[in-house]
């Protein structure tokens, strides 16, 4: 058990250290979501006008963009595994007295730590887009982002155990990011999309994470105002959404750890 714990923290520590030492990566990870927010916001806010619930598109997109940063960062855990494998460092980790499960948890928590750092940095622009952030909002946001990040990183790591090369993993993950993020209600509400898209979006687990983050940041009354997510005629509460993402994420992480233990 101690080897699971030590594996998790030591690997996560390195992930965060690498991220923080790489200034251009830190900058890009903040600038990229902000670009989305600025460009889409500037382009569509006036067209869309005031949305149901009395918010504008910027306010609507802002939590979504934070979720997007968390999701892309989490999927990158898979790229991290593949790049360690390619440049040899994975052997240093594998031969240490650490458990395989601990190593995978470390990659997941490392990605989550990076994602949370990004989130906290992105929160600084909240007032600019008209989203008020209180301490209690942030305190509820962090665990939700954590659950979403851990689960999605399981998917990324799983990819890396099937596709071995770093380039292959990178390609596949880019391919995954697009539908996972765009069909998650990050940029537009799902209450007025065509049926096929609604079906795909509701099958996308990231949708529930995005909605939970939005409910926390904009207030749950939005759910009642028709912007909330309904599944099978039932409006999802934050707790239900987190539970759903958490359950699926745990399964993905368990699968990733199992595959990793077998293949490395």
């Amino acid at each position: 058990m101690i080897e699971v714990y030590r594996g998790a923290w030591v690997v996560a520590y390195r992930e965060l250290l690498r991220f923080l030492r790489d200034r251009s990566r830190v900058a890009a990870s903040i600038v990229f979501p902000l670009l989305f927010l600025a460009i889409f916001g500037a382009g569509f806010t006036n067209i869309v006008g005031v949305m149901t619930g009395g918010i504008d598109l910027m306010q609507f997109m802002y939590p979504g963009v934070i979720a997007m940063a968390v999701v892309t960062g989490a999927l990158a855990a898979g790229i991290s595994v593949a790049s360690d494998r390619e440049d040899g460092f994975l052997r240093e980790i594998l031969v240490a007295p650490l458990s395989r499960t601990g190593i995978i948890l470390g990659k997941a928590f490392g990605a989550a730590a990076v994602g949370l750092t990004q989130t906290l940095l992105l929160l600084a622009v909240g007032p600019l887009v008209g989203v008020d952030l209180s301490f209690s909002v942030i305190a509820r946001l962090v665990p939700i982002a954590l659950v979403l990040s851990l689960g999605v990183s399981g998917l990324g790591i799983l990819v890396s155990s099937y596709v071995r090369s770093q380039q292959g993993v990178q390609m596949l993950i880019q391919l995954l990011v697009f539908p996972l993020v765009f069909l998650a209600g990050v940029f537009f509400p799902l209450d007025s999309v065509p049926v096929w898209m609604e079906i795909l979006s509701k099958a996308n687990p990231v949708t529930y994470g995005v909605d939970a983050i939005r409910q926390v940041m904009l207030g749950s009354e939005l759910a009642g105002a028709g912007l909330g997510l309904t599944a099978f005629g039932h409006t999802m509460s934050i707790g239900e959404e987190v539970l759903l993402v958490g359950a699926l994420g745990s399964a993905l992480l368990a699968g990733a750890a199992w595959r990793f233990g077998r293949s490395e």
Partner: protein, 332 residues
């Protein structure tokens, strides 16, 4: 057949018993048996693909044996995997450093991963970085390091958790002669001060000569196991090499006049005589073809390998750059 062991006295630190590994149809290692004593420098010598790395991976718990078993310091490599890992240090053939981190951060990661005490950790980091002459560069990113510096850092890292045994897989591959010499100096020092047991694989004969004992491995089997001196003694007498513009004719003459069995390599002809110094004056006087050069030398492990396996160790198969052996064959 491989029980040529006769270990150095004292504790057995590495014990391989009929160890074998197959990959599909390929039998990479077949029934390898040997023991290494505490404080011994033990070499695995053989060409690329002979099964050296496979053996090391089995001893280091990275690969499960298909047959047989092995133990390190009395711990079974399969059932006591983590305990084994704690008492071994490993230096791989290919670098395994994190280039995006500094030298010190790489070491610190290792110390955390092995759960070292804070006091031991700081003391060891300082001691080992000083030993490998990288203390001044500890804050620099590894990506700015040369190949030799990286290898030295890896050696420091491999020793950080104070292992009983240090495994080195082709430790000086692709390094310049000066760095190679330094690395051997460190290893000698550690063995003297810490009683470290060293297991290394190599396909360089000159490197193998630094070992106390050598197992010669070919096609997954140990074909000989002894001290370098005793192995060399198995090739009797001296080796004489002559370079001639017409090597075939020269070889014929050696055979006809002296009844010896010469080998032609390029434009040189090599043959074995019981005593080179006595043989040469008479040979030169009577030899009737032009001679470009002539040399007498004691047998090297190259010759041993050739004698044992019937083929030369395939150095050129390696992708590394190292001065070609041919210089050995000129008059020295």
């Amino acid at each position: 057949m491989n029980r040529l062991t006769a270990t150095t006295s004292g504790e057995v630190v590495i014990d391989a018993d009929d160890l074998g590994r197959r990959f599909g149809d390929l039998e990479a290692v077949r029934g390898v048996t040997f023991q290494v004593g505490a404080g011994e420098v033990f070499g695995f010598l053989g060409p690329n693909g002979a099964g050296k790395t496979t053996t090391i991976n089995m001893l280091c718990t990275l690969l499960r044996p298909s047959s047989g078993k092995a133990s390190i310091a009395g711990l079974d490599t399969v059932s006591q995997e983590r305990a084994v890992r704690r008492c071994i240090g490993l230096i791989f053939q290919k670098p395994t450093l994190d280039e995006a981190l500094t030298a010190e951060q790489n070491l610190r990661f290792h110390a955390y991963a092995y759960g070292l005490d804070a006091a031991v950790r700081e003391e060891q980091i300082r001691r080992l970085l000083t030993m490998v002459e990288l203390w001044e560069r500890r804050g620099d990113d590894v990506r700015t390091f040369s190949g030799g510096m990286r290898r030295r850092l890896e050696i420091a890292r491999g020793l950080l958790h104070q292992p009983r045994v240090l495994f080195l897989d082709e430790p000086t591959l692709g390094l310049d002669p000066q760095t190679r010499r330094r690395i051997w100096e460190y290893l000698g020092e550690l063995r003297a001060t810490d009683g470290l047991t060293i297991f290394l694989t190599t396909h360089y004969m000159d490197e193998a000569e630094n070992c106390d004992r050598i197992a010669v491995i070919d096609h997954g089997q140990i074909v000989a196991l002894d001290t370098p001196e005793r192995l060399k003694a198995a090739v009797s007498g001296d080796l004489i090499t002559i370079a001639s513009p017409s090597p075939a004719a020269a070889a014929d003459q050696v055979l006809a006049r002296h009844g010896l069995d010469p080998t032609i390599v390029g434009d040189s002809v090599t043959f074995q005589v019981p005593n080179g110094e006595d043989f040469l004056p008479e040979f030169i006087r009577s030899f009737q073809l032009p001679l470009r050069s002539i040399s007498v030398r004691r047998p090297t492990l190259d010759d041993v390998f050739l004698e044992l396996t019937g083929h030369a160790i395939r150095e050129e198969a390696g992708s590394d750059e190292r001065p070609k052996r041919s210089s050995r064959w000129k008059l020295q």
